[in-house]
């Protein structure tokens, strides 16, 4: 079973990396790039779970405890495929 969880900075939290990338993009002539926010993406391989709901619950728990830092980040379970 495969799953994807994404973790992003909360909206008003400073993202120096995103800022720097936006800067670099401008410098390279990509003026259309107005804003960049950098987040994380986790691809997980799981033992086959009884069902998707069980897997989703596990992933949420895991994201909250381990993958995301709830003080500054939000997470989302993106997809689960068996």
């Amino acid at each position: 079973m495969k799953a994807v969880v994404t973790v992003t900075l909360k909206p008003d939290v400073l993202d120096p990396q995103g800022q720097a990338i936006q800067h670099a993009a401008r410098f390279l002539g990509y003026d259309a790039v107005r804003d960049v926010r950098q987040g994380k993406r986790f691809e997980l391989t799981l033992e086959p779970a009884a069902d998707r709901e069980e897997a989703a619950a596990l992933l949420s728990e895991l994201a909250e405890k381990l993958l995301a830092n709830p003080v500054i980040e939000d997470f989302r379970v993106e997809s689960i495929e068996s």
């Binding site: 939290v13 400073l14 003080v71």
Partner: protein, 750 residues
């Protein structure tokens, strides 16, 4: 003066902002009207404990802050002390305890960022950092996480900005389970005729904002109840600021470049309470006023209100006043480093802070009552009722240690006694190429170069110290001991202690027992600083370190700075060679009160901490300087927590990876072996070198008790009674293994 969207301002809102009813009435009296919402925010922040020092002011005034080399004492961003030949060092220590508990990585990182700004604001190039850390027990996964995060944060920030982290201290204790301590120290070098102050002088001079854009970071820092904002915005208002070391690095270089011109009148970093605090302080220092237009402030988020713009704690920002007509030159230098800079206002002569936004005046308050004449409290104090009882320790009734070797091994294997290499290996200890002694010794020793890169023969030694177990059992004695130990650590390199900074970490000052601890500690700090001739030139107070009514142990951390000149001779804390003679300087008394041995082997935190003899301390430190300069002392290691046995074991290994040298030693003092080996009588140093006779003679001259212990060599550490039984006889490699693994093994267990 109210803007659309601001909540109605009344007493209730003031209380929610942490102001008292009395303070509310005072504000109304000062203004002759009720404050606007941003004005209320300003008063709340400026009069908060954090910014106004209202509980501590009265006591801090008693500290000795003057002395011949002191150029700037408390009140400036950092203390500045002359080191001769037109050079000075600026240094300070500051706490970032609360943010680090909430988000260890960013909290610690922004702590480092903040202290660095305090230093380069004064025109000094940051040279070296220390960090003083305290956590709960490592058995608690939360504290393993906090330790890892804090160390990563300190490293990631310090390493990126190119400032070496050369030392610190780390302790673990139950009392920090709910409140960790993260105190960051930095020292910078400045030419005495290029020191800058936070002053908004000169009518009509432009006020310039430089650095990162302002976002909604840390507005809760103003202790605002979030319900008063619109409900949906709660999510958008993170209390945690994220550090951007890259911007800070550019800011350091740009500011130092700018300071080489004569365009700058005054400069101040935006720390706690951001734009508000920095502008009020600058105007107050100069006896002027400031007129500011918030529309010109570089902004990161959209639709920020005046309240938010004034109180945001976004990092990596500076406020400066330039000479009129030099605006462009200033902005050009920031532009070269790709930093935002904007003229946001001008200096006025009427002593008022006037702030406009969208053409409307949103703040109009007299500077002085907010800044300089903020409230001062005289809080009640009371000695904790059970303290006298806890100070009693009947040695005769205390079962003697049966396994002396086992006790030494247990101390080496404890998180407090073990090597801290796991932490400091994550710090760049070398950048700038001046580190003569990095972490692992008693004090760090860093060579001074001039801004043009030329080497001087000066080096500064620095150390941070505090033993909270002593402080809780006797805050006065504990504070005296912290000063003495920090000075002794500095002296062990051969340097002469010059001046100190301090970070006073305590519980809730509204409790008389906490306030008593604080007052006692300040008294001790002052007495010891006076006796050792090391003025207190800067510092920081952190109150309210308590959770669920359980306060931390009083933790007055002392950061001592000394000068070694020339640095061509210095001593290290480990044995360098075989065949050296080992001498113990200072007197060992039969005492075990407040010792690490007592806590670890008997589970007791009790007894009176050993008293420091400050006169003897001065003599000892003079002897160390002389002995190192003469070449008699090549190793000097302070005997502190864990006692003589632990100190001797540490002398056998230089860490990491360095030499291991054993020793055969005999002790003659007629006291019980456990007190001899593990007692913590202060004022002692293990010295080694090739000229013990000269050292002993000099000790006699200086009136320092001294005795020969034996010689270095072999691969075992043997300690026994002179002419009697052997107490400890272990391979150094075994001791080293325990010591080196003490922290890593606890982290890996997870």
């Amino acid at each position: 003066m109210t803007s659309a969207g601001d909540p109605p301002v009344d007493l209730a809102l003031a209380l929610e902002h942490g102001l008292t009813e009395e303070e509310w009435h005072q504000i109304v009296r000062i203004l002759g009207r009720e404050p606007s919402f941003p004005e209320l925010g300003i008063f709340a922040v400026m009069w908060s404990e954090h910014c106004s020092y209202k509980s501590s002011k009265k006591h801090l005034k008693t500290l000795a802050s003057e002395g011949e080399p002191v150029l700037h004492g408390p009140g400036e961003n950092a203390g500045v002390v002359a080191i001769g030949d037109g050079l000075a060092v600026a240094f300070k220590i500051e706490s970032h305890n609360h943010p680090s508990y909430i988000e260890p990585r960013q909290g610690a990182a922004t702590g480092v960022g903040g202290i660095l700004r305090d230093i380069f604001t004064m025109g000094a190039r940051p040279l070296a950092s220390l960090d003083s850390l305290r956590f709960g027990p490592l058995e608690d996964p939360k504290h393993r996480h906090l330790l890892a995060g804090v160390v990563e944060g300190i490293g990631s920030y310090g390493n990126s900005v190119g400032v070496a982290t050369v030392g610190g201290e780390t302790q673990f204790h139950e009392c920090y389970r709910g409140n960790i301590l993260v105190n960051a120290f930095n020292l910078g070098v400045v030419e005495t005729d290029r020191i800058f102050l936070a002053s908004a002088a000169g009518l009509d001079n432009p006020v310039i904002y430089a650095g990162a854009k302002t976002g909604r970071d840390g507005i809760h820092g103003a202790s605002m109840a979030s319900a008063e904002f619109d409900d949906s915005s709660e999510e958008k208002r993170p209390t945690v600021q994220v550090g951007d070391p890259f911007t800070e690095k550019c800011l350091i270089e740009a500011c130092l470049e700018l300071m080489q011109t004569d365009a700058v009148v005054g400069i101040q970093d935006m720390g706690a309470a951001g734009l508000t605090c920095s502008s009020f302080e600058m105007a107050s220092n100069a006896g002027t006023g400031i007129e500011m237009d918030l529309d010109r402030v570089p902004q990161r988020a959209e639709g920020m209100t005046p309240y938010e713009l004034l109180l945001s704690e976004s990092q990596e920002r500076m406020l400066l006043v330039a000479k009129a007509g030099r605006e462009q030159e200033v902005c050009d230098i920031f532009a070269r480093w790709d930093l935002d800079a904007a003229v946001v206002g001008r200096v006025t002569g009427d002593g008022r802070m006037r702030v406009r936004c969208h053409g409307e005046t949103v703040v109009d308050i007299p500077v002085d009552p907010v800044a300089a004449s903020s409230p001062e409290l005289d809080r009640p104090t009371a000695e904790p009722p059970e303290l006298r009882e806890r100070q009693k320790l009947d040695l005769a009734a205390l079962a003697p240690e049966e396994d002396l070797t086992g006790a030494l091994e247990a101390l080496l294997d404890s998180p407090d006694g073990g090597s801290k290499a796991w932490l400091y290996r994550q710090y760049d200890q070398l950048v700038q190429g001046n580190t003569l002694i990095g972490p692992g010794g008693d004090a760090a020793l860093v060579r001074i170069k001039r801004e043009d890169g030329s080497v001087t023969d000066k080096a500064v030694a620095m150390a941070v110290d505090c033993n909270p177990r002593w402080c809780v059992l006797d805050p006065y004695a504990g504070a005296v001991a912290a000063v003495a130990e920090a000075a002794r650590n500095v002296a062990c390199t051969g340097a002469r202690p010059l001046a100190l900074t301090n970070c006073l970490n305590f519980g809730n000052p509204e409790k008389p027992e906490i306030m008593w601890q604080f007052v006692e500690a300040v008294r001790g700090l002052g007495d010891a600083a006076r006796a050792l001739g090391t003025p207190v030139v800067s510092g920081n107070v952190s109150f309210y370190n308590e959770t669920d009514g359980r306060p931390i142990h009083p933790t007055p951390v002392v950061g001592m700075v000394g000068l070694l000149e020339p640095w061509s001779r210095f001593a290290v804390a480990h044995f360098r060679e075989e065949g050296r003679q080992v001498v113990l300087l200072g007197e060992t008394r039969e005492e075990l009160g407040a010792s690490a041995w007592l806590a670890l082997r008997r589970g007791l935190e009790a007894g009176a901490p050993p008293a420091v003899d400050l006169e003897a301390e001065v003599a000892l430190q003079r002897l160390l300087a002389r002995g190192v300069a003469e070449g008699w002392i090549e190793t000097a290691h302070d005997v502190s927590t864990g006692g003589l046995a632990l100190a001797l074991a540490e002398c056998c290994f230089s860490d990491p990876g360095g030499t291991r040298v054993g020793a055969q030693l005999e002790l003659a003092d007629p006291i019980r072996p456990d007190a001899l080996l593990f007692g913590e009588s202060p004022g002692r140093v293990v010295a080694a070198g090739a000229h013990a006779d000269e050292l002993l003679a000099a000790a006699a001259e200086e009136g320092v008790p001294a005795r020969r212990l034996g010689t270095t060599g072999g691969d075992r550490l043997c300690i026994g009674r002179a002419g009697g039984s052997t107490w400890i006889d272990v391979p150094v490699a075994r001791l080293h293994e325990l010591w080196a693994r003490a922290i890593p093994r606890r982290l890996e267990a997870a």
